[in-house]
């Protein structure tokens, strides 16, 4: 039994979209994921199915603000409502590793699972009329034909800043478990109670820098005069 998922380091992510494009490249033609179509890719209104989307945010106010690039894909929730609401049984969560998958042979394209997902992890394939989502590259991670180092999701392998890590959260000694414990790894939208598996490492705290001089209170007339003289002397 394992609980596979991702750790995403918001401190390291530069928002380059490499994970999202690597995901498209691998899953666009994957038999397991069933494809991620593009609509009008070179036209005026390019759109399509993405299993992973990177959005860019800012928290707080300058100069103490943090820019956060937040890639989001399926969180492979322990309490996955997308699975329980599915009327056909097309959505399922694997007991052995916790991966949430869609069986396109059973899906009737009612969108109900996408409604139940707070993370926007599910998108309808309008060409085939079935729901698509992140498979955690289930067709890579167990593939013994691949070198062991490559048995990871495509997004993790592609990340140039090593902001993405894949592993088993049930194993307390795994890299993802220890990273998450050390860096205060957080689930997104915990309040809804879906128990998402993926963890997001918040930006590291910046050292306490004194505010710039322009913002410092103006000194007394004497100290400002002394500062002026000092500046002149240094010339």
């Amino acid at each position: 039994m394992s609980r596979l998922g991702l750790v995403i380091d918001i401190d390291a992510c530069v928002g380059c979209q490499a994970c999202a494009t690597a995901c498209k490249e691998w899953n666009g033609s994957s038999l397991m994921a069933g494809g991620a179509p593009d609509y009008d890719p070179h036209g005026d209104a390019p759109s399509g199915v993405w299993f992973n989307r990177v959005r860019h945010y800012e928290a707080g106010h300058y100069p103490l603000s943090k820019t956060m690039n937040v890639p989001m894909s399926c969180m492979h929730c322990e309490d996955a409502d997308c699975v329980t609401v599915c009327p056909t049984g097309a959505s399922y969560k694997r007991a052995e590793d916790g991966i949430v998958l869609v069986d396109p042979e059973k899906c009737m394209g009612c969108n109900y699972c996408a409604w139940a997902c707070p993370y926007g992890a599910r998108e309808l394939d309008e060409d085939k009329g079935v729901m698509r989502k992140c498979t955690l590259c289930v067709d890579r991670i167990y593939d013994t034909a691949l070198p062991e180092a490559e048995r990871q999701p495509a997004c993790v392998l592609a990340c140039p800043t090593h902001a993405r890590h894949f592993g088993d959260f049930d194993d307390p000694t795994s890299k993802v478990s220890t990273m998450s414990a050390e860096r205060d790894g957080r689930p997104l939208f915990e309040k809804l109670g879906y128990k998402p598996v993926n963890r997001y490492l918040p930006p590291r705290a910046t050292p306490d820098v004194p505010p710039p001089a322009a913002l410092a209170p103006r000194g007394t007339l004497q100290s400002r005069l002394a500062a002026m003289v000092n500046r002149l002397v240094r010339l």
């Binding site: 390019p46 989307r53 945010y57 800012e58 928290a59 009327p87 009737m108 996408a114 939208f189």
Partner: protein, 311 residues
């Protein structure tokens, strides 16, 4: 949420049809339905037409209707599956009940009761499809199932009295018919007062950023810098529907007028059957509008990730 017309029509029409069926069954159980009269067949036919048209419309919402038959597979966990099973079970039981009633069998009372409960269960499970979603706080309240039942009984009851006014059916007591109409308006008003405002969840909760934390850590109000896509996506299309505030106000007033004062006014001002049909029609239009607004005003939490501050 995108107000898909197929779903708007489905919930309103099958609700009205099931409401009419429930009232006819209540009348039959109370011994107030002379089943030998052709008017009863017309009434039952109208109910069946509305329920059937609604169910057909609901399948228009599916992107892959070829697999619709699989929707009966997850009754244990899914309200959509429960609704599908109950709505389909309604038809053979209704046919059986009609047959037993025509034969004058004593057991028709039992089948009437069973069918009544089944119709009620269909309406409740239709509502629970929406009310069970944690992702749409404005739906996740008791107002949704209770409201659906009230709208169903209200529109069905007004159809019942319109049919009765056209002759052949015993005229139902006005109080009985108007009670669910009033209840529906009251539930809607209660929802407006308590749930229409935003504040159920915030962008900070969605992104796990605290509003305040020790200096240096990420904190404070989060805002979207860029959504990462140049054009619309499935998510913005399905969940990004924005109803202009001014338009929302106008439609809301129209809805309350159609659901509330229009019904007794039309029934009173226009004499005879025409007034009863107009009242039923006004309420029906009000229910369609209510259902459209039900979707248009429901805000899915995924909007927070697209930059909305609160839902």
């Amino acid at each position: 949420m995108k107000p898909a017309l197929s779903i708007v029509f489905f919930t309103a029409a099958s609700g009205a049809g099931l409401g009419l069926a429930m009232w006819l069954l209540v009348a039959q159980l109370a011994g107030r339905l002379d089943t030998s009269r052709p008017a009863v067949a017309w009434a039952a036919g109208l109910a069946a037409l509305l329920v059937g048209a609604g169910l057909l419309a609901s399948t228009q919402h599916l992107a892959n209707p070829r697999n619709a038959w699989r929707a009966f597979a997850r009754v244990r966990t899914s309200w959509l599956s429960r609704e599908a099973v109950l709505a389909v079970a309604f038809w053979p039981l209704a046919a059986l009940h009609v047959l037993l009633t025509l034969r004058g069998a004593g057991i028709a009372r039992a089948s009437a009761l069973a069918l009544l409960l089944l119709a009620f269960a269909v309406v409740v499970s239709t509502a629970m499809i929406y009310a069970c979603l944690k992702t749409v706080p404005r739906w996740r309240t008791w107002h949704t199932p209770v409201g659906f039942v009230a709208f169903s009984l209200g529109s069905g009851g007004l159809l019942w009295s319109a049919l009765a006014a056209s002759g052949g059916l015993a005229v139902p007591p006005a109080g009985l018919v108007l009670a669910p109409v009033l209840a529906a308006v009251a539930i809607k008003l209660a929802w407006e007062a308590k749930f229409a405002a935003r504040g159920h969840a915030t962008i900070n909760e969605a992104l796990a950023v605290p509003m305040s934390a020790p200096r240096g850590q990420a904190q404070g109000r989060v805002r979207l810098l860029d959504a990462g896509h140049a054009h619309g996506t499935f998510l913005t299309n399905e969940f990004g529907f924005v109803l202009a505030r001014e338009r929302e106000g106008t439609l809301r007033v129209a809805m309350f007028v159609l659901l509330g004062p229009a019904v007794p006014l039309l029934a009173w001002a226009v004499p005879g059957a025409a007034g009863a049909w107009l009242a039923a029609g006004a309420f029906g239009a009000g229910v369609l509008l209510e259902r459209w607004l039900f979707f248009a005003r429901a805000e899915h939490v995924v909007r927070l990730y697209h930059g909305q501050q609160a839902v």
